[in-house]
Symmetry: C2
Subunit: 254 residues, 2 copies
């Protein structure tokens, strides 16, 4: 009886009922189970909840939702955005496969930001209370979890540097180079990729307007540093973009 249910689930449309398995997941080298041995991975597998599909523009969680789970992205892309009482919104990050969502919520019992899918995506639900139990038994897991939280702190500090100190052109170069290296780390092309987010989202994230992003794309294109076709990007001069991002070279208007 129960095996039949399981069979149905495997072969049917309702993939979201499937239990996730870290061991088989292509992201396990980047994700929470990084560095765990097979035995510990299976213990982690046992606590991991169902997979959950999130359609494009749908929210994984919203600000104020009660906090139960962290989420590891299996595939797809998300944006997280923070809002203040007067309604101003700031996109605080774009997340891709292997990255963890929800760590901001641990301090309270509810989420402090919205997480919205930029395309049809899938996540693993990680019940935080059960993860905490595991921490006591798998020190490696705890250590890696701390690394991931700490990395998030460092990442945000880099964004603060970007927003506080850089001109539009440098911000945009940093953005492109960052995407490029993250795709490279996942085995994708570092020079050809798709922007999963709108120009408006990019602008909001970088503290610029959509018009500025549009102008920057046009200028970079005119300089021959990249090609753009809708959301498809090809970096033609990645070294130049890296130099711009690092602040070692500057844009000269023509």
């Amino acid at each position: 009886m129960s095996s039949q249910v399981s069979y149905v689930a495997h072969s049917a449309l309702n993939v979201s009922a499937l239990k996730a398995s870290c061991a088989n997941c292509s992201m396990h080298q980047l994700c929470l189970p990084m560095g765990l041995d097979d035995n510990d991975i299976s213990r982690l597998d046992q606590i991991i909840g169902r997979r959950r599909r999130v359609a494009r523009d749908e929210s994984l969680y919203r600000m104020g939702d009660s906090f139960q789970n962290l989420y590891a992205i299996r595939f797809g892309h998300f944006k997280t955005s923070h809002m203040n009482p007067s309604g101003e919104q700031q996109i605080t990050g774009f997340q891709m496969a292997g990255e963890l969502l929800g760590m901001d919520a641990i301090s309270g019992d509810h989420h402090h930001c919205d997480a919205i899918a930029l395309e049809d995506s899938e996540v693993c639900e990680i019940p935080f209370a059960r993860l905490e139990e595991l921490f006591g038994h798998i020190p490696t897991l705890l250590r890696h979890f701390h690394r991931m939280m700490s990395q998030e702190i460092t990442r945000e500090q880099s964004v603060m540097l970007l927003l506080g100190n850089m001109r539009a052109e440098q911000r945009f170069a940093v953005f492109l180079v960052n995407l490029s290296s993250r795709y490279a780390a996942r085995g994708y092309s570092s020079t050809n990729f798709q922007l999963r987010m709108s120009r408006e989202d990019i602008g909001n994230y970088l503290g610029l307007t959509i018009e500025s992003i549009s102008r920057l794309l046009s200028r970079f294109k005119k300089q021959g540093w990249l090609k753009v076709d809708k959301r498809e990007v090809e970096l033609i001069a990645p070294a130049k973009l890296k130099a711009l991002a690092a602040g070692t070279e500057h844009y000269e208007p023509i």
Copy 2:
């Protein structure tokens, strides 16, 4: 014998050789031991290293320093600043008593930012490796540690919102209101306090120039919202400042 050593230490000049004691520390309600019972506090006390004094303008740690300890501020103020390869610097936060320094370093084996004392200060050294051992035995401690890391993430997201979306005047109001509430939480006046950092530091933190900060202070003073004398500030219209910070009211030039 050992009690005499203790006596000498207490009465002598070399306070930095003293072992810290969370139980007696006025900050223990805000700091790492928050919520622990007496028994667990004493276990925490046992792993806490020496106290360390840091003179004004001296560094507690520098970017690239190997990571061994977290630091809890006993008294005094610090700034943390992040630098990119091309030398641009961003102050990512100002920290005061009861706050934890060094959490950004957990992801690697070295610090990712500088921590500089804004005045003569004292911290408790918390050897992170030993803290990790304790986590396995005191779940409450682990939980609170996670809260503190998560709070840091949320705090940084608020700064990103500030830097990405707010005008100079609102940024500065947010800055003042934030200091005000943190002093209030520590039992100090929420309206009268000293700015421990230079105008330049404030400007860097807020993504503005020193001239802008100076002009903002003059404008706020002229509006009758505050008084300033050197670094001494009195908030005269805290409600107005809160409204500016929240974005529910805007500045009208006169």
